[in-house]
Amino acid sequence: MSAARLETGATEHVAEQAEVVKLDASILRVSELRELRDDIERLMPRAECEWK
């Protein structure tokens, strides 16, 4: 596990897949990543039927 991953305490897949965040600035904690993730998910449109 890399130093960056150790520092974030993130699971391996989180650290790998959070490269956009990691590369752009300092490192976010797992709790912060989760909060950010949930925040972004709320942007998604509500699921609709395949018909209207």
Binding site: H13, V14, E16, Q17, A18, E19, V20, V21, D24, A25, S26, I27, L28, E32, L33, E35, L36, R37, D39, I40, E41, L43, M44, P45, R46, A47, E48, E50, W51, K52
Partner: protein, 308 residues
Amino acid sequence: MTGVRDPRPGAPGRGPRTHEYLSTLTPELAAFAAKLLPAATTDADDPISLKIAPEWVLDFFGIEDSVVREQTRFASTLLAMHTILQDKRIDGDFDASARSLSDLLSNLLLADSLLIFNEVAGHAVEFRAAVHSALNDLAAGYTAEPVLDAQLAADRDRYMTLVADRWATVKVLVSAVGYRDGRIELIPVLLDALRSLEFAQQLRDDLTDWRDDHARGRKTYVLLQLARLVGRPLGECEPDAIADALYLGGGLEQLIAELQELLRTAVTALAGFPRDAFVAHVRYLTDESQAIVDGATARKAAALAAKA
């Protein structure tokens, strides 16, 4: 005898509405249909559609005859109702009794729809071949779905064909109007554009429904792509890993870029043809998806700024 009346449009400019159609069915079938498709009981012009508006097709071919437009709209609605019932049946939503009624109603809807589309097509012999081809494509779509895998998802063109096959009833609509117009060489032009739009809409649905799809074990294009980002087979990916890949790992940006590229392709394919309503719909989808990306970018920037 069921007492079913001819469902074809009557007075020019205003064909029957679905609630009028339902009133021609036996009470049992009508009640079943109303329960499953409550929108069909309203007086709306176009209560049910499958996200491909018949108006786009009519406008593309420049069909202005109000009777033909009404016939096309109504036949499309019946075809959409048929498709919805089929999907519900495939999803196992019915018990044995409901399956029987569903089969009857579904067959009736398909038959009535095709009868009207056949009139739209001017009874062209070739239209029958187009219907056969569409239903064969639909069968191919049903057959292919269970064998989806990461390899197929990596081959987008093959995957797009599969999605187009699942939407193959659109070919009935486009072919009927194309044969009415006579410029049948334009049928594949429009179908090609719709193929891109259908896949873009599928991506949108897959993005919004991914949690439910994942819970149901569905192997959608979006889930298969996200599993590749996670680096594990989809069956071994927990929802948390998928969510991380999607919202934090660049999956969202990548998939929305793909969606927007498909939308651009669809609009470009119809350049030079009447397509205002089509373009308006595409613009809506583009703006909606861009707002998601912009929102995600802003939130990521804000989270990083808070740490700085």
